[in-house]
């Protein structure tokens, strides 16, 4: 009952009956755990005052697989398969991040060619990640066409993965000490074709959305967060950059030769859904720039480091070389110990700073491994970003934050 109606009702009541009390009953709405718009298995319990969200609380952990615990019994090499099941939209970044962490612990310097190949693959992964995020944001606002346009390119990126490592989603790509194999001529051809084709598709996608009035009405001013709050919440990646903070691990703490490449860090202003969308779009252009530079200047030379005790030898070597066979056996059986040490290594994942905190006690497996998962860090800000908005806003906010359940729970 609105206040004017209350006044009229009170005027008509006998004095002894007292005024009518305005009782505002909130509706509890379960968004998830399984809902097409929750982008994974997690629950949001929203308190709604009519259409407006008053407060919210999240329940996560539905797919918690205890990766950190499992890692304590696995040789370093076998942990790769855990990492690509976190943010499965950009698995190669997770794989390479883990390999670089172990290489830091072991003190292995990998050759330039391997570093450049890693950069190419990581940027392809970023493209795939951002494509899905922005494409699905379109779907969540009711625009399915854009998603269909760009989904083909994600498929093409997966074909490149397949050519490089044989897998598409859970890539298990690379090795500690370099790459499993060099880029094949087919992979190089496919990457070059992608570099020609992708800008056209991305331009078309941008034409569909960037100045689309319906889309803009749905996302501009929705779910904004200030730079100060974003930093306090520990935001990183596109979500932080959309709020105007130009923090990018690739620039601040370059790894894998990122210092060799020229690229810009796109930033937004208001940190709203539109800015997050635009930052991701612009990052795709920057990723293309990086891949182009890496392809143009791909150094000659070996694609793995001269560290036979740690680098899993190529299969053809194992068949004909006794040393390779011995090391292959030792590495696979986890008989190679790592030095005692403590490493924190961060990479710029699809969602932000993906950190690996590794403590080695000198054994064959980590004594302790902790993943600093960007999704886990920023998802707690979700209720604050939704407060006072409507349910349809909550959907696009979640979509633009790119919450991946695999990374959230780990």
């Amino acid at each position: 009952m609105v206040s004017e109606e209350l006044d009229i009702a009170n005027k008509n009541l006998p004095a002894e009956q007292g005024p009518v009390q305005y009782v505002n009953e909130l509706t509890t709405l379960n968004l998830g755990p399984t809902h097409p718009a929750t982008h994974g298995i997690f629950q949001n319990v929203l308190q709604m005052d009519g259409e407006k969200i008053v407060s919210g609380e999240q329940t996560i952990g539905y797919i918690h697989r205890a990766f950190e615990k499992i890692a304590e019994r696995r040789p370093f090499y076998q942990i790769t398969t855990l990492t690509d099941r976190m943010n499965y939209c950009s698995s190669p970044i997770n794989n390479m991040g883990w390999h670089m962490t172990v290489e830091k612990l072991l003190g292995i310097d990998i050759p330039k060619r391997a570093q450049y190949i890693r950069v190419i693959l990581m940027e392809l992964a970023r493209l795939a990640d951002h494509l899905i995020c922005n494409g699905i944001l379109g779907v969540d606002t009711g625009a399915f066409t854009g998603f269909l346009y760009i989904y083909q390119e994600r498929e093409n990126i997966y074909e490149i993965y397949e050519e490089v490592c044989g897998a598409r989603l859970t890539t298990n790509m690379g090795r500690i000490g370099g790459m499993e194999r060099d880029l094949s001529p087919t992979a190089i051809r496919k990457i070059k074709e992608l570099l020609v084709r992708f800008p056209k598709v991305l331009t078309e996608f941008e034409n569909l959305f960037n100045r689309n009035r319906i889309f803009m009405d749905r996302v501009i001013g929705v779910g904004g967060i200030s730079a100060e709050r974003a930093l306090s919440y520990g935001f990183t990646g596109p979500n932080l950059r959309a709020a105007g903070v130009d923090y990018d691990v690739r620039v601040m703490n370059p790894y894998s030769s990122y210092q060799d490449f020229e690229f810009d860090i796109p930033v937004g202003q208001s940190g709203d859904t539109y800015d997050r969308f635009m930052v991701r779009n612009e990052e795709m252009w920057q990723s293309l720039r990086i891949i182009q530079q890496a392809m143009d200047n791909l150094p000659e030379g070996p694609y793995y480091a001269d560290a036979p005790q740690y680098y899993l030898p190529p299969k053809q070597e194992v068949y004909k070389n006794m040393e390779a066979l011995i090391y292959h056996f030792k590495i696979v059986m986890g008989e190679i110990d790592a030095p005692v040490g403590e490493v924190y290594h961060a990479v710029e994942g699809g969602n932000g700073e993906l950190g690996f905190y590794l403590i080695s006690d000198g054994g064959r497996a980590p004594y302790r491994l902790h993943f600093r998962r960007p999704c886990f860090i920023y998802y707690q800000a979700y209720p604050e970003m939704c407060k006072g908005l409507t349910l349809s806003d909550a959907i696009v906010i979640m979509s633009s934050m790119n919450v991946i359940a695999g990374e959230l729970d780990a």
Binding site: S232, G234, G355, Y357, A381
Partner: protein
């Protein structure tokens, strides 16, 4: 550009012997302090005019069951984005007393990080607004990341560890 020595010296000048064990494994400045000093230390580092450690990267814990009197270690990674400088701070706790003050008044991000650390290790963050399990079930009465819960049954005798590289 900040150096490890500069930051360490400033901390020593301010906190004296309350902050110890300075080290820089893989160039990341690391130090230890007590639970009484952790909040003042991070408050100081965050508000420091030059350092401005305004970004809490991570909170987690480690269990050392054999280290008597220092069974638990709570690890904070903080980052000064202005100076691009990372710092790791450790607080050791005994198994009998796993209380430590919360960092939530300083950083909103500490909320879930502390809940996770509580969930997995049972570290109790005093003053936390909502210290509940986050990844596991509420009904669980143990803390799975502690070393007393190995993944495999240690009493199994049907396989020889040496054959499996263990």
């Amino acid at each position: 550009m900040l150096t490890n020595e500069e930051v360490a010296q400033t901390i020593i000048n301010q906190f004296g012997e309350a902050v110890t064990d300075f080290d820089d494994p893989y160039d990341l400045l690391t130090c230890s302090t007590s639970r009484d000093q952790i909040v003042p230390l991070i408050t100081y580092l965050k508000g420091h005019q030059t350092f401005q450690f305004g970004f809490l990267t991570d909170i987690t814990a480690i269990h050392y069951p054999d280290s008597v009197g220092k069974e638990f270690c709570v690890v904070y990674h903080i980052h000064s984005l202005i100076n691009n400088f990372r710092l790791r701070i450790k607080v050791y706790l005994t198994a009998e007393d796993v209380h430590i003050p919360t960092m939530t008044p300083l950083f909103a991000s500490a909320n879930w990080m502390e809940r996770e650390t509580f969930d997995l290790f049972g570290i109790i963050f005093d003053g936390h607004p909502d210290l509940r399990r986050i990844l596991n079930m509420e009904e669980m009465d143990y803390y799975p990341m502690r070393k007393e819960y190995p993944l495999e049954d240690g009493t199994r005798e049907d396989k020889i560890d040496a054959l499996f590289g263990r």
